[in-house]
Symmetry: C2
Subunit: 204 residues, 2 copies
């Protein structure tokens, strides 16, 4: 068990991994289960995770990630996607919360209406929302991994078109981030220095 | 102390707050300190946080948030911004990591070059990157708050132009999310139901 604060402060973006370390599918699933408890606008849950562990798939993924070696050395790499046009699935996604008595039907209806009005035909908002939700989930996943003693590295450098060609992504899946995960090897950098607080925080 | 897993599973988007509960500035600062330890591409750290606690500022913020009452009831609301054109500040931001011997100068130089080449003149990438970084930081902040016994609510519903008029945001500050924070009152919804895992996870 790791406190949230310790997980945040200890975690460091990792690019060197022990290549023989295996993470069980159950562990990858548990991390996605936790990531999916992140918040999203209207509870859209507009995210999807492809966990890549098979050697041939890793090799294709490495190519799509401009050859970065950590994709093959890590036990797994998550392709974290946000989903476009998620408002179309919202009614169904909120259904379970209504059935369970968590939110009233009237609220679900009003959210579906509001989300549809703002998202329909608004490609920029759909993209923003996909990136926002996927990134929130990605952070939860990385902190949950830290608690399990697993190192992670978030990567923004990849060719989205190549990913779409080689992996089962739908038209609506927008790849937002790759997250490598595994046991850290020797030779990773320490956590990098951060900007001073007074540069990033304004109290009003 | 709360485990990461418990913080993720317990946290629930909160809209009803105890209006008299005060969060000290030191606590708000500590939360931003932690949030800023989130990863960002090239360690851009392209985020900024405005913590709004003064009654008149809360009232203006509530207006910009389409009148949503939790902005006034919460102890504070963070305006979480991503920053555009962050590649221009990257050389300076990596300087401290170089001085501290965390990364070599040659790596800092190559990151500055790569970030400049990809971000310069690419408004969409700058926007994506701002949303990505701010959202990662936002999730760390919310989980850190949960550990302190504080409830949070992420809000995407606000008028960015109105925010820019009433709050000291620069041209580069893109408001990505509001996060209300405080002590939960009675009457909040339980955490909403999540999609089944087999719908969001593919193992390859």
């Amino acid at each position: 068990m790791t406190s949230v604060q310790d997980a945040i402060l200890q975690r460091s973006s990792t690019s060197k991994y022990q290549p023989d370390y295996v993470i069980e599918p159950e562990t990858l699933a548990q991390l996605v289960h936790l990531a999916a408890h992140s918040p999203s606008a209207y509870n859209l849950q507009n995210w999807r995770f492809i966990a890549v562990t098979a050697p041939e798939a890793k090799s294709l993924l490495r190519e799509a990630a401009y050859g970065q070696p950590q994709v093959e050395a890590a036990s797994a790499t998550f392709i974290v996607c946000g989903q476009l046009a998620a408002h179309k699935a919202l009614e169904q996604r909120l259904g379970e919360s209504v059935s369970a008595g968590i939110i009233p039907q009237s609220i679900a209806d009003s959210w579906v209406k509001a989300a549809s009005q703002s998202h329909e035909g608004n490609a920029q908002l759909q993209r923003d929302e996909a990136i926002r939700s996927a990134s929130l989930a990605a952070m939860s996943l990385m902190l949950a991994a830290e608690e399990l003693g697993l190192a992670t590295g978030a990567m923004g450098g990849f060719d989205g078109e190549q990913l779409k060609r080689h992996f089962p992504l739908n038209e609506e899946d927008l790849p937002v981030m790759l997250i490598t995960i595994g046991k850290a090897a020797e030779g990773n950098w320490a956590q990098k220095a951060r900007r001073p607080l007074d540069e990033i925080l304004t109290l009003i």
